[in-house]
Amino acid sequence: MQLAKVQHEVRMAGAKLPPIALPTNCPGCGVSLDPETLRKHAYVCECGHHFRLGADAWIILLADRGSWHERWGDVRSHDLLNWKVPKPYQATIDQLADEGLNEAVRTGTCTLGGRPIWLAAFDFRFVGGTLSIVAGERLARGMEQAAASGLPYLLVSASGGARMQEGVLALMQMAKVNAAVGRLHSSGVPFFSVLTDPTFGGTAASLALLADINIAEPGAAIGFTGPRVIKQATYADLPAGFQSAEFQLARGQVDMVVIRTELRRLLAHLLEMYP
């Protein structure tokens, strides 16, 4: 990896990335990690291991400095089904809000390389990046506005699927969002999807794999059913690399696997090619 280029890319993107929770050693190569060095390299280890980023980091990484304009950030989830055990859902979401997280999806407008776009980023730290009513609403509204205004739509996903604690209404978000994806496509605006680790279940089976161009991060796990459930249900031995980004590339589900430090440059170029 060319570290000089990495630094340039990250600086170009805007402010410094926020600190993230890191293990002591890299799960990819075992090297002892220096958070400050890693932060300058968009949290990609020299061995190529990509650490998970929250929505806040993605916005800083992709939006031109000062261009981010968040939308519908005040629409918040609450416990609609009176979900009590093992942990009250309301307590779960209140606690996450206290930690400064604002739902599993944040969306808004920004520029990327000077081009105005709609950006939506999942946050895996918020109940596993699960699709909720609020997440679905932010996605659908953003896509409707992108279609109406002609702005390209950029998605960064990291999600375990639909949120159990919102029951069948969470499932229905897949239909709500895909209705909007269909209209986004009909409107002719470009839709680019960046699939990060992990993207599963109702998110993989709704908007994440339906873009004009699907881009995956190296090593990201992408699929419908998680490996634990597949093993439970079928007693199958899954080969190493099953459901990885590279596996999905070989099977025709994604267009390319792109290292995070090259992503911004690639997206800026794509936005020029798909005006």
Partner: protein
């Protein structure tokens, strides 16, 4: 509750008893209903790309004097048939077969009836290798573009994305003892508790019975079943279902395609509006 037929009464069943009825081994399956709704039903096979998925039956039949496309998850009755039907769990080829028949219906202006009865899409390695996530995603998106009336009915289990992949319709109704859920109670327990033996508690919290879904505004109607459940009298269950399906299909048949598609969009786009107005309407556990 219903304007015709038997009135839907309060139930004394527990949530788990409803789950067990929805999965009852003697319960009528899609073909049991389809052959009663359209005795001249002709089954059609294949996704025209690589395979035929036996977990989904598809075909055409004459229904109330009109050629209609029928789609339905099909579980097996005997062990051999269950294996052959893969317990009604579709592979990617099944969703492609469904879309092929949807475009077939669009070409000829045939309405579509979709019967839902699946634990979920197949959670196996082969389905993953052949792109089950994208197959479901594409199906859900494409249903919004099929310019003919679609009425769906959950007749047993409405399990997760595998059910929703067949459940985008202008009207969605449920049989009284059917369930529709974000995940099976076992899967939800496994996700939330990391222990799938907590399935009963999970089922109680998920609000997955037909009455729950009607109250949430996710389905238009709950269709009463014969005393004791649909398995007690296939003919009577099919008659009531037929009447309800036709009552919902009839006004749709007269609608111009653009109106139909706009209403279908709005049905799902604002499907959570009722619960936002009235949170906590169905508390079960305190």
């Amino acid at each position: 509750m219903t304007r015709h037929g038997r009135r839907l009464e309060e139930t004394t069943l527990t949530v788990w008893q409803v789950v067990e009825l929805a999965r009852h081994a003697s319960r009528p399956y899609s073909l049991d209903y389809i052959r009663r709704l359209a005795p001249d039903f002709i089954e059609l096979h294949g996704d025209r790309i690589s395979a035929d998925d036996p977990a989904l039956v598809a075909g055409v039949g004459t229904w109330h004097g009109r050629t209609t496309v029928f789609l339905g998850h099909q579980k097996g009755r005997s062990l051999k048939e269950r294996v052959a039907r893969n317990w009604g769990m579709m592979h990617p080829e099944g969703y492609r077969k469904a879309l092929r028949l949807a475009h077939h219906a669009a070409k000829f202006g045939f309405p579509i009836i979709s019967l839902i009865d699946t634990p979920g899409a197949y959670p196996g390695a082969g389905a993953e290798e052949r792109g089950i996530a994208a197959a479901i995603a594409r199906a859900i998106m494409e249903w919004f573009r099929i310019p003919v009336p679609i009425v769906a009915a959950v007749i047993g289990e409405g399990g997760s994305g595998g059910a929703l992949g067949m459940g985008v319709a202008d009207r969605v109704i449920m049989l009284e003892n059917s369930i529709y859920s974000v995940a099976s109670p076992e899967a939800a327990a496994s996700i939330v508790w990391r222990d799938n033996s907590r399935k009963v508690e999970a089922a109680e919290q998920l609000q997955l019975t037909s009455r729950d879904l009607l109250a949430m505004g996710v389905v238009e109607e709950v269709v009463p079943e014969p005393e004791g459940g649909a398995h007690m009298d296939f003919d009577a269950a099919a008659r009531v279902l037929d009447e309800a399906l036709f009552r919902h299909a009839q006004p749709l048949l007269a609608q111009p395609a653009d109106v139909l598609l706009q209403h279908r969009y709005e049905r799902f786009r604002y499907i959570d509006s009722l619960i936002h107005a009235e949170p906590h309407f169905g508390p079960k556990i305190d």
